[in-house]
């Protein structure tokens, strides 16, 4: 909570939407905000009534840059919104940065208004930030599925410390709400909440495999790709990040970069000219640009021209010189023309016939400084495809200064 834990000293709180973002339909803005209030009313005795004029407790508005308070917005990205703790005047008000691209979808091409509004309204009710990673009140924006979005236990504990749990009622809505804009969910609809006194049932944490040592001689990888000059090595949910500027290897997880991508990539490659990395898993693929995942994904790999008999890809690498991307499946490979976005004729071909010394499946592939690196288990094969020469064989983790 904020210093001195300010809270509304009443249970029926009012709000007013002062203006709208042109990014969304007005009805969608209203629905996102109503849904955000419902999250909090479902776990507290609070009710939220919308006013259409005059002064409401929580005034909601969109604005860009300097907008009349001491906390100007900063253009696209960075700060998305802010809100004031309960008090008179500006207290409780929530401001959203109009320089952002607001959306009602769970997309990566903009910020979901429901998620950000639910967070900011937590501030409007008196909650500070949480350092619990999946909590709604965690300060960093995370795109996630909003269909049956639930508050985390930390959020519930926080808000109920201020207002207590929802009031038990005899099943009838305690307040008649105008039909077009329900201000309160009737208890029957309220999600059953674990009351604070019930001990959370102990869920046995699923056993995630521990990260292998960097210099484990048996280390193998699921996929490898370059990304803006760096090289990322993937295995399960783990990422090893190698930068040309720092000698040490950074250890991350896939979810810390792309929270909604499931771990265990089959293949990955970068088309650096488009600042785009593609990830493959089973018969689907995703395209990302930095942190943001392009909208409209995942897509089926058949969109790239694979026959339906191909259920997954072993490895992929993009040749920055020829603009061709090579996809490896079993002992064969395809060549995909990134300019025409189509598979080349005469494929698939045998890997061994065109890539010297690579007579087996390929786990991962990489192009660096014009040379190709094909990974199979804990070994790696450096190949000069122009001169059709296998240069050397190394350990897969030779990149980690072992």
């Amino acid at each position: 909570t904020f210093p001195q834990s300010p809270r509304w000293k009443k249970e029926d709180v009012t709000y007013r939407i002062l203006n709208y973002t042109p990014d969304m339909l007005q009805a969608d803005v209203e629905e996102a905000i109503a849904k955000a209030f419902q999250l909090w009313s479902s776990v507290t005795p609070l009710t939220f009534t919308r006013l259409y004029n005059g002064q409401a407790d929580i005034m909601i508005s969109f604005a860009a840059g300097f907008h009349g308070d001491f906390y100007s917005f900063d253009g696209p990205g960075g700060t998305l919104a802010h809100a004031y703790p309960p008090s008179t005047g500006i207290g409780g008000d929530a401001h959203f940065d109009e320089d952002e691209n607001w959306t009602k979808f769970t997309t990566y091409n903009g910020f979901n208004l429901f998620l950000v509004a639910a967070h900011e309204l937590g501030h409007s009710l008196g909650l500070g930030h949480s350092n619990v990673f999946n909590a709604l009140m965690y300060p960093i924006y995370m795109a996630r599925d909003t269909r049956d979005f639930r508050l985390s236990q930390d959020d519930i504990d926080g808000i109920q410390a201020l207002y207590g749990p929802p009031r038990e009622s005899s099943g009838l809505p305690t307040k008649s709400s105008p039909p077009q804009e329900p201000t309160e969910m009737t208890p029957a609809e309220a999600p059953t909440e674990m009351s604070p006194r019930e001990e959370p049932t102990e869920t046995t944490p699923t056993k995630t495999p521990i990260r292998p040592q960097d210099c484990d001689p048996h280390l193998s990888f699921d996929a490898i790709t370059t990304l803006r000059g760096e090289t990322l090595f993937f295995k399960g949910s783990y990422v090893w990040r190698k930068s040309p500027y720092f000698s040490d290897i950074e250890h991350d997880t896939i979810s810390s970069f792309w929270p909604s991508l499931t771990a265990g990539f089959d293949a990955a490659y970068e088309v650096d000219k488009k600042d785009r990395v593609l990830f493959f898993k089973d018969d689907q693929y995703w395209a990302v640009s930095g942190y943001s995942i392009e909208s409209g994904f995942p897509k089926p790999i058949q969109n790239l021209g694979f026959p339906t008999s191909v259920r997954k890809i072993d490895a992929a690498v993009h040749d920055q010189n020829t603009k061709k991307t090579y996809f490896f499946v079993g002992n064969k490979y395809w060549s995909f023309n990134e300019n025409t976005q189509s598979m080349e004729r005469g494929y698939p071909r045998k890997i061994a016939s065109d890539f010297q010394g690579i007579g087996h499946t390929v786990d991962a592939a990489l192009q660096k400084n014009g040379l190709f690196y094909f990974f199979h288990g804990s070994n790696q094969y450096e190949v000069d495809i122009k001169n059709r020469k296998l240069i050397r064989t190394m350990k897969s983790n030779s990149w980690f200064n072992c």
């Binding site: 904020f2 960075g78 809100a83 930068s243």
Partner: protein
Amino acid sequence: FPVVTEKEKEDKQFAKKYLEKFYDFKEEKNSLFKSKNLNHMDDKIREMQSFFGLEVTGELDRKTLDMMKKPRCGIPDIRSYS
């Protein structure tokens, strides 16, 4: 000492603004002792790192910078919000 590259200067400036905005870092403008400022900033970096569960080094390492650059809410993370 290695020459502080332009990028590092930019990163430091960005971090300073971030810490001022979200961790109540106040640069003592007329402080005689430059090092006093630096230690103060290191403490604030540690505070931020511990909030986000990063390795607490007090240094502006890449993971710390990455976290600072992620889209976020404009409200400070620590309670001395005035």
